[in-house]
């Protein structure tokens, strides 16, 4: 074996920079999780900080702010699964049924675009448009409705979050489904036409079943995201007035850890979330492997 290692030393050398980066920026921080069980103080370092076991875990379970964050995370996550997950599928079906090539291409180009803008930009746009003196309020003013303080209303926050998330990612997400749709045998549609099936029937009985594997696979792989509302989106869209419904676990971790300096505490919370997310993802992976023959390696 050592002979093989020596004869392939160049190839192994090629792996070295990548491995070094992974060790430095991924694996060592992974080990750093252990600070969740300590009373970590930067000046004492890792080995000098006291070990306190699960104390932090007990603390955060009692924190009402954490409960709110958890509730928001699960709430938004669940709504995402309910609305943001099917949205790209619907869009793919809609785009696919467009016959005009120019319109089809234009729609795709336009809807893919927001995926490439950072959430800082998107949030900036949202705040500007939904401002009390913004366009949206001007528009509803024409219908005689008095201005709504969109971004100051905790009860509207989940709705705004989901809608904006969908607008941002629906286009990009539809790519996978469009690919799946285009791999369906056109003969099936021809046969259905001969049997007198209209567009709706074709969609229900050919297209949807045809892309069902892709849908199921995507669903199963995204199970882990219920617990993982994106930090980027949450952080940029929230403001102090809507904290009660906007704070999610990731932003809670950021606030307690970076802003309040409670390193160990914050790590404990993050660890909890990672574990749950990982379990969900792992379950998803097993299901994917068993029923869809989908494997990473």
């Amino acid at each position: 074996m050592l002979k093989r290692v020596w004869s392939q030393r160049m190839l192994l050398l090629f792996l070295l920079p990548g491995a070094a980066a992974l060790i430095a920026f991924n694996y060592i921080p992974m080990a750093g999780i252990l600070i969740a069980f300590q009373d970590y103080k930067p000046q004492n370092g890792f080995f000098g900080s006291a070990f306190i076991g699960f104390q932090h875990f007990r603390t955060f379970m009692d924190d009402p702010a954490f409960h709110a964050a958890l509730k928001n995370t699960l709430g938004i996550g669940f709504l995402s699964l309910l609305f943001a997950f099917p949205a790209p599928i619907v869009l793919a079906l809609m785009i696919d049924s467009v016959k005009n090539k120019g319109f089809k291409r234009l729609t795709q180009t336009i809807t893919y675009m927001p995926h490439f803008l950072s959430w800082v930009i998107i949030a900036g746009l949202v705040y500007r448009l939904l401002a009390e003196d913004g366009v949206v309020n001007a528009l509803i003013g024409y219908f005689g409705i008095s201005p709504i303080s969109f971004m100051r209303s905790p009860e509207l926050y989940w709705l705004i979050f989901i809608v904006v998330s969908i607008l941002k990612e629906v286009g990009w997400g539809s790519i996978i489904y469009l690919a799946a749709i285009s791999s369906i045998d056109p003969e099936l549609y021809n046969a259905a036409s001969i049997d007198g099936a209209g567009s709706w029937k074709k969609m229900l009985y050919i297209t949807l079943p045809g892309i069902a594997p892709a849908i199921a696979l995507m669903f199963v792989l995204n199970l882990g995201t219920i617990v993982n509302v994106g930090f980027d989106a949450a952080f940029n869209l929230m403001n102090p007035l809507v904290m009660s419904t906007a704070d999610v676990v990731d932003t809670y971790v950021y606030r307690t850890g970076i802003l309040l300096g409670r390193f160990s505490y914050s790590t404990a919370v993050g660890l909890c979330q990672s574990v749950i997310s990982f379990i969900l993802f792992f379950v998803g992976l097993k299901i994917a492997k068993k029923y869809f023959n989908y494997s990473i390696i």
Binding site: L15, A19, N26, M94, T109, R128, D133, S182, G257, F263
Partner: protein
């Protein structure tokens, strides 16, 4: 696809209308902000911008450039995008090439070593602590070193390399070329499509990156454009920029809101300009990555 699948009818008219509405909803916000940015700031504050500027002016753009933070941030973003992408390509490409060899010793275990971090990581705080411990706080390298290896991109490149004909490499080796020469002289030139795709992925990621600028640097000169944008929009640094603009020219009409809008457009334009040309690379890359796992 020459088969007609859906017959034209009322259902498809609704389809067109709904899609058109979606497109308008997607495009309009940017149109609005652009029109605001070229409108007279005071006028835009009192009346409503719709789809055209009010009292067209370039004063807002002149105002934000008075504060050279914008230019510095722009430069940082450009630097990190270029350097970060090149480094990423090198590190990730080399690893992908090594893994594309079926006979690599301990291949499965090494591959596992590279893939695990894709699904599990230590979380924000341990990473933050590590960055400080490595001396990368307030150091430009913090923008390019952590992203040197990209696991997803590596898998995409690996799949591509595996599909290159063996004969290219074999004939080079017969002529006495070593692995590195094979990589640079043979593999890379034959892999332009996947290299373009990966550069686009990492380029966009680098350009849009804002959080690391916020978290790992507090020196003003080290802020990338998106971080500066964040500070202007969310932390109200627009006010200080407004003041600087007034100091430079007392007659100029400018408001913090106008500053925000103008900076927003400035941060978006490079991506919008580049995007149409790269769209097909992104889509292709997405498909390779998703289909082949």
């Amino acid at each position: 696809m020459t088969t007609k699948r859906f017959s034209a009818g009322p259902a498809s008219l609704l389809n067109y209308v709904l899609l058109a509405i979606l497109c308008i909803l997607t495009v309009y916000p940017l149109v609005y902000v652009f029109m605001y940015s070229v409108s007279d700031a005071a006028a835009a504050a009192s009346r409503n911008v719709t789809v055209y500027p009010i009292d067209f002016t370039l004063d807002n753009y002149r105002s934000i450039f008075v504060d050279n933070r914008i230019l510095k941030a722009l430069w940082i973003s450009v630097e990190r995008t270029v350097l970060g992408s090149l480094l990423h390509l090198l590190v990730t490409g080399l690893a992908a090439y090594a893994f594309s060899k079926e006979n690599l010793v301990m291949r499965r275990k090494l591959l596992l070593f590279f893939i695990v971090p894709l699904y599990f990581n230590g979380g924000l705080l341990p990473f933050y602590v590590q960055i400080i411990n490595l001396g990368l706080y307030n150091n430009f390298l913090v923008y390019i070193l952590p992203t040197a290896i990209g696991i997803f991109n590596m898998l995409v490149m690996k799949v591509f390399f595996e599909q290159l004909p063996r004969s290219l490499e074999e004939s080079a080796k017969v002529d006495g070329a070593g692995e590195f020469t094979v990589f640079t002289r043979i593999i890379v030139p034959s892999s332009m499509p996947v290299i373009a795709t990966v550069i686009m992925f990492i380029g966009v990621q680098q350009w849009n990156s804002w959080f690391d600028g916020l978290l790992f640097a507090n020196k003003a000169d080290l802020a990338p454009l998106q971080t500066l944008l964040y500070k202007i929009i969310m932390e109200n640094q627009a006010t200080s920029m407004e003041q600087m603009a007034r100091l430079a020219n007392a007659n100029v009409s400018v408001t913090p809101e106008a500053i925000k809008m103008t900076t927003l457009i400035l941060s978006t334009v490079p991506m919008l300009v580049v995007y149409p040309f790269l769209q097909k690379y992104f889509v292709k890359g997405m498909m390779i990555g998703a289909v082949k796992g």
